[in-house]
């Protein structure tokens, strides 16, 4: 049996249950199944209580017992505890009684939920003795690895598809990271990184560090439950790329129940994809329990993963929680971005447009009943994907610095409206 470290007991294969030591290893040697961290829940239950939480700092690390580091975290101490916003104006537009936005578009320091997974992966990488960190990324992860590595004094290599938005490229370069642009889509970047990871002994956050990395996403779910006043939301809508965040949201709800932070109740976790890259949603709609890989073609580049590693488990989450999957077109994504911005003052990246657009469809179809309540997970900031909405959100009107010209403009617009 592996040696216990902190609250972690071992790594265990989700498929066959074989256990491994708590090292930088992500797949089972036997069947390639993903490895997951096993915790000592009995000890966590005694230490992670509502009472203990009351005096802890407002960051994701307040749930430290169920995050996979052996000692105290050393990277990203300020990450998380982003606002949970009551969204009444958007609720009216979507036709639902109660709606909340979990706003990771303002996560620290790089404005996406990836700061959660990266602070865990880098803290753990340090514990395991690595000084070079790396990742395959659709943009947000690269930004976060670059920034957090810089602040931790670690060297970073980030690998991205060559067609990324400029905002996301510059957001990695500025921190001094080695940014390697690959002529191909994300799945090809991933394949290459798997081969690089086998050869270079680096901490690849989403390859050999994946069991630790992925657990960081649970903090978003813990926060939702706490911020709702210790209640699991009846419905949660989560954007899906690899499907990892969705599975970890479910896991966070399960664990919160398991250690007695919250009472068990009925809840459904729903998944959102872009139609131009919707292998999981397509499988759900076809009633399959496996997905067919696709070649991505969507403006939601942060979700453009055609071979989603956790697709199989995401489909299981729908089955277990009564959740559903939906997908939306590029136009619907832009509409979703605008709707969220105009009703709640939150500017999300394309993935948020996907989540809002899919929530609208799920509510309209009754999969999320109108008299229920829901939380939408907004995972990234709109300032990073300006290219996707430029030219679609209206335009400025230019005048000279003259009151007469402004009066004329007001009058002209009043006429247009009255017409």
């Amino acid at each position: 049996m592996a040696k216990t470290q902190g609250f972690m007991q071992a790594l265990r294969c989700r498929e066959c249950g074989r256990t491994y030591d708590l090292e930088a290893r992500h797949v089972c040697e036997f069947d390639f199944g993903p490895l997951e961290v096993v915790y000592d829940y009995d000890r966590a239950k005694k230490s992670l209580t509502r009472q203990a939480l009351a005096s802890r700092p407002h960051s994701m690390w307040r749930y430290r017992e169920l995050l996979p580091v052996a000692g105290e975290p050393t990277v990203g101490l300020q990450v998380g505890f982003t606002p949970l916003v009551r969204a009444d104006r958007l609720a009216r537009k979507l036709g639902i009684r109660e709606l909340w936005i979990k706003n990771d578009a303002v996560n620290y320091p790089t404005l996406s939920f990836k700061d959660r997974v990266v602070s865990v992966a880098l803290s753990r990488a340090r514990e395991l003795g690595f000084d070079v960190v790396a990742c395959a990324s659709t943009g947000n992860l690269a930004n976060s690895v670059a920034a957090n590595a810089a602040s931790a004094g670690m060297k970073a290599f980030v690998f991205i598809p060559s067609d990324l938005e400029q905002g996301k490229v510059i957001n990695s370069l500025v921190y001094g990271a080695n940014v390697i642009s690959i002529k191909g889509h994300y799945d090809e970047v991933n394949r290459l990184c798997a081969e690089i990871a086998g050869k270079y002994h680096w901490a690849f956050v989403n390859v050999n560090m994946r069991p630790y990395y992925a657990e960081g996403s649970k903090s978003q779910g813990f926060e939702i439950v706490e911020q709702l006043g210790w209640r699991i939301p009846r419905h949660t809508v989560v954007p899906m790329a690899s499907g990892s965040l969705l599975t970890k949201i479910q896991k966070s709800y399960q664990e919160a129940v398991k250690i007695g932070l919250v009472e068990d109740g009925e809840y459904s976790v729903h998944g959102a994809q872009a139609t131009g890259c919707s292998p999981i949603s397509a499988a759900y709609k076809a009633g399959l329990d496996f997905f067919k890989p696709v070649k991505p073609n969507t403006i939601a580049k942060s979700l453009a993963i055609g071979t989603p590693a956790d697709g199989f488990y995401a489909l299981k989450v729908f089955k277990e929680t009564g959740g559903a999957a939906e997908d939306v077109t590029d136009d619907e994504i832009r509409e979703g971005i605008k709707l969220l911005a105009e009703t709640e003052g939150i500017f999300s990246e394309t993935a948020g447009g996907v989540t809002v657009g899919c929530a609208k469809k799920l509510i309209a179809s009754g999969k999320i009943p109108a008299d229920d309540s829901a939380v939408l997970c907004i995972t990234g900031n709109g300032l990073k994907t300006l290219d996707a909405v430029a030219g679609h959100v209206g335009q400025t009107r230019e005048i000279r610095p003259s009151l007469r010209e402004f009066d004329a403009l007001v009058e002209k617009e009043a006429q247009m409206i009255s017409r």
Binding site: E15, H26, V27, C28, E29, F30, D31, F32, G33, P34, K114, C135, A136, S137, T138, N140, L141, A142, G184, Y186, D187, E188, N190, R191, C193, A194, E195, G198, N206, V207, R210, Y213, A214, A241, S242, G243, S244, L245, F290, K292, P293, K295, I305, T307, P308, A309, D310, F312
Partner: protein, 91 residues
């Protein structure tokens, strides 16, 4: 004629740490059988009990996923490069 197969780290214990092996098989299914003959035990790592490629194993021929080609029937010719890669989390 021969194609090369890149062996992923988790399987190298079976191939005596060889990273690249050659095969004269003419399709992916036959290549896996060929590997099994030379490195007993490798087949059950790659295929499930129904003989299909395991859920978390991705196989590529010249950088293309075989699920976009002809799965196990995907032909191999001289100089082709086969990669076997575990599924990876998102980014």
């Amino acid at each position: 004629m021969s194609a090369t197969i890149r062996i992923p780290t988790p399987l190298r214990k079976l191939t005596n740490n060889e990273e690249v092996v050659e095969t004269s098989a003419t399709n992916i299914g036959a290549a896996i059988l060929d590997l099994q003959t030379r490195f007993p035990g490798i087949q059950e790592r790659l295929l499930d009990s129904n003989g299909e490629v395991r859920r978390f194993v991705n196989v590529y021929v010249n950088e293309e996923d075989i699920r976009f080609l002809q799965n196990k029937e995907t032909p191999l010719k001289d100089g082709d490069e086969v990669s076997i890669i575990p599924a990876i989390a998102g980014g």
